[in-house]
Amino acid sequence: MAGSALRRLMAEYKQLTLNPPEGIIAGPINEENFFEWEALITGPEGTCFEGGVFPAKLIFPPDYPLSPPKMQFTCEMFHPNIYSDGRVCISILHAPGDDPMGYESSAERWSPVQSVEKILLSVVSMLAEPNDESGANVDAAKMWRENREEFNNIAEKIVRRTLGIPT
């Protein structure tokens, strides 16, 4: 019998393949290593990210359901809650105890009952509604708050770039 983390990841992969949530595709990059996943997230409708397809990488720790995975967008992103290198700053990905921004209540943190699907859905809703208080990307947060037009323009550019359309 393989490790519990592996079993859990295989189960989640199966679940995601059988009943994929709308606008989300996820799975291991290589079936020999279930601890590195790739996910494709479509921008939520009715937001400035609408229509975009954003690739991201998920790295799972060896003790997976006990510790949260790490998520990083592999394309260029401009969003208040995404660091400039693509790492996603969202409370569901933080284990209770470490709090990079010092504002999160433990109720919205990682717990073993969460899953990849829930993470990706949270990321989709984060794309739709940025939390400008946590400010992983301060420029983006500032622009989101003060100059929404400009923000929307940049977001549209990014969407075009992910689709391979020249801007």
Binding site: G3, L6, P62
Partner: protein, 570 residues
């Protein structure tokens, strides 16, 4: 490509140096002396030696590990930078006896260390990969003994040696645990515990070694700066492992003692319930408690919450049934009154369900069905809920086996006299068994009546004080006095059935009571084999005949109310 060109360059440089020396001195010995005297040529030779070591290391790695994965390579690089820095620091301490031999020793040590790290990563990888080939096992197994052998050979710098030895032992234990787990089909729950304790003990040993090493170094040489970083990390890891062990032990202790296991009808098996009523596998909870002592769903702090399991049981609502229902649901015998009683015990009965027994009656079987199938997933749920009564499984089972054993052959004429004689004996046993069976049934019927009476009492109480209806389990439960014990063997039979079937909570329900009433209450609940002359009318007459206290009067009236719809259905 780059490394290839570097090694080629160094090779040509070395050959140039050697050729030059040989060209100048013409003889072997003088040329060796020439090379060792000249600093530039010595530098070239050192570089060549370093590259040779590097290449041999690569070959070894290829043999023992094959292709390194990216994470392994990153780990290796990170750790070797630290190790190299520390080695340089160590040279400052040992500068007095700094010589090529010493350098060679440290290089060898570095190599051994890197192989240990790789082996550690590899063994951890066992848990992650779905496919572990035999080559993997061969490699790891062949790696472990040489590592130990090499260590004993280079035991000069003793503290490092001891620490590496602990690493080897740690890897070996982990490997053993993982491979046992890998070969077993069932998930091995205790592995996490073993791993945790291995970590703890190895951490302790390492801490001891480091402290001893630093103490010795301070006495003999000077403050060993290079040992501080690993010592700090070792101590930190040990502290973490220790606190993990302590906290998880406390939480697990709480889990085992204070929170009840989920009862079988709540979930299949091996589950555990937290004070917030969330249910998890014990093994899952154990590994989570090693991190966090909270409920994974609602994040209730387990250590700070006073366990209130005694309250938790009755307070829970919804599909989880109180434990009494294990017993109660076995009594889902066809007709209604008992089901009513059962319903009352479901624990979360609203007033609207409680008040009118009559209009709700037709729905009862349907509503009851899911609860029944949930509670007794065996034969009871499979049987259609028709006129055929359901016996408590123990009796029906014994009856069936008894039928199988005792059925006489079809044609008696074919039997020899001995066989006939034996059959006579069997027939006597037969009768005895039948009587026993009847007694058992009687006990069950008695219990049913007691439950009915209990129901009556509860309804009485709830109609008297509407507030109590919200807390059905707290409602007064009047166990009626055993009134007319018509059958003296009744008492005896109760004793024979109760132990395997009823837990202490239900002993009240099996208290002997009137047997005639019992039979009447489950009219139609017995098969033809065990027919009892009973109708619901009889109950009323019987009840009227017996002298009555006011309480009994109330009970009788309640019973009458039952009987009317029951008859209407029949």
């Amino acid at each position: 490509m780059r490394s290839l060109s570097i090694s080629l360059l160094s090779l040509t440089l070395t050959s140039i140096v050697i050729a030059n020396a040989y060209y100048q001195k013409k003889q072997f010995y003088p040329s060796v002396v020439y090379i060792t005297k000249s600093n530039p040529s010595m530098a070239v030779i050192y570089i060549q030696a370093f590259i040779c070591v590097w290449i041999s290391g690569k070959i070894m790695r290829k043999i023992f590990f094959g292709q390194l994965r990216t994470t392994e390579f990153e780990h290796l690089m990170e750790r070797s930078w630290y190790a190299i820095t520390e080695t340089c620091l160590a040279f400052t301490v040992f500068r007095d006896d700094f010589n090529p031999k010493f350098v060679a020793l440290f290089t060898l040590l570095l190599f051994l260390k890197s192989f240990h790290w790789l082996a550690e990563d590899r063994v951890d990888y066992m848990e992650r990969s779905p496919v572990i080939s035999w080559l993997f096992h061969v490699r790891v197994l062949s790696l472990l003994p040489p590592a130990r052998l090499a260590l004993t050979c280079t035991s000069s710098s003793s503290p490092e040696h001891a620490i590496l030895l602990t690493v080897v032992i740690n890897i070996a234990i982990k490997y053993a645990l993982h491979s046992v787990d890998l070969n077993s089909e069932m998930p091995w729950d205790n592995k996490a515990v073993f791993l945790l304790y291995t970590e703890l003990i190895m951490g302790l040993i390492k801490v001891i070694f480091y402290v001893a090493f630093v103490a010795i170094m301070v006495r003999i040489y000077t403050l060993p700066l290079f040992a501080f970083r690993p010592m700090y990390y070792t101590i930190r890891n040990f502290k973490k492992a220790l606190s993990d062990v302590i906290l998880s032990r406390r939480a697990i202790h709480n889990m085992n003692t204070l929170y009840p296991d989920a009862t079988p009808e709540e979930l299949i098996a091996a589950d555990n319930k937290l004070p917030c009523n969330h249910i998890f596998h014990t093994s899952c909870l154990r590994s989570w408690f090693q991190r966090q002592q909270t409920c994974p769903t609602c994040r209730l702090n387990i250590l700070r919450t006073p366990a209130n399991n005694n309250n938790a049981r009755p307070a829970q609502q919804g599909p989880r049934l109180p434990p009494q229902n294990v017993f109660m649901n076995q009594f889902l015998i066809g007709p209604n009154p008992i089901q009513f009683f059962n319903r009352q015990n479901l624990g979360n009965m609203g007033p609207q369900q409680q008040q009118p027994p009559q209009p709700a009656q037709p729905d009862q079987p349907n509503q009851q069905q899911p609860a029944a199938s949930g509670a007794a997933p065996g034969a009871a749920a499979a049987q259609p809920q028709a006129a055929v009564p359901r016996f408590p499984s123990c009796i029906s089972r014994s009856y069936r086996s008894w039928l199988r054993r005792r059925c006489p052959p079809q044609n008696l004429a074919t039997l020899s006299p001995e066989e006939l004689q034996r059959m006579e004996g069997n027939e006597r046993e037969n009768v005895e068994a039948r009587i026993q069976c009847l007694r058992n049934i009687q006990v069950l019927l008695d219990a049913a009546v007691v439950m009915m009476q209990q129901y009556n009492a509860t309804v009485t109480a709830s109609t008297q004080s509407p507030h109590s209806s919200s807390q059905p389990n707290v409602a007064p439960i009047n166990i009626p006095q055993p009134s007319t014990l018509l059958n003296p063997s009744n008492h005896n039979a109760t004793a024979t059935v109760t132990p395997d079937q009823h837990d202490p909570a239900q002993t009240a329900a099996t208290a002997p009571s009137t047997s005639t009433r019992a039979s009447s209450s489950t009219d139609g609940g017995t098969s033809t084999e065990f027919t009892k002359p009973s109708t619901s009318k009889e109950l009323e007459t019987e009840a009227r005949e017996s002298p009555m206290t006011p309480e009994e009067e109330v009970r009788r009236r309640r019973l009458q109310r039952f009987q009317q719809p029951a008859e209407a259905q029949q």
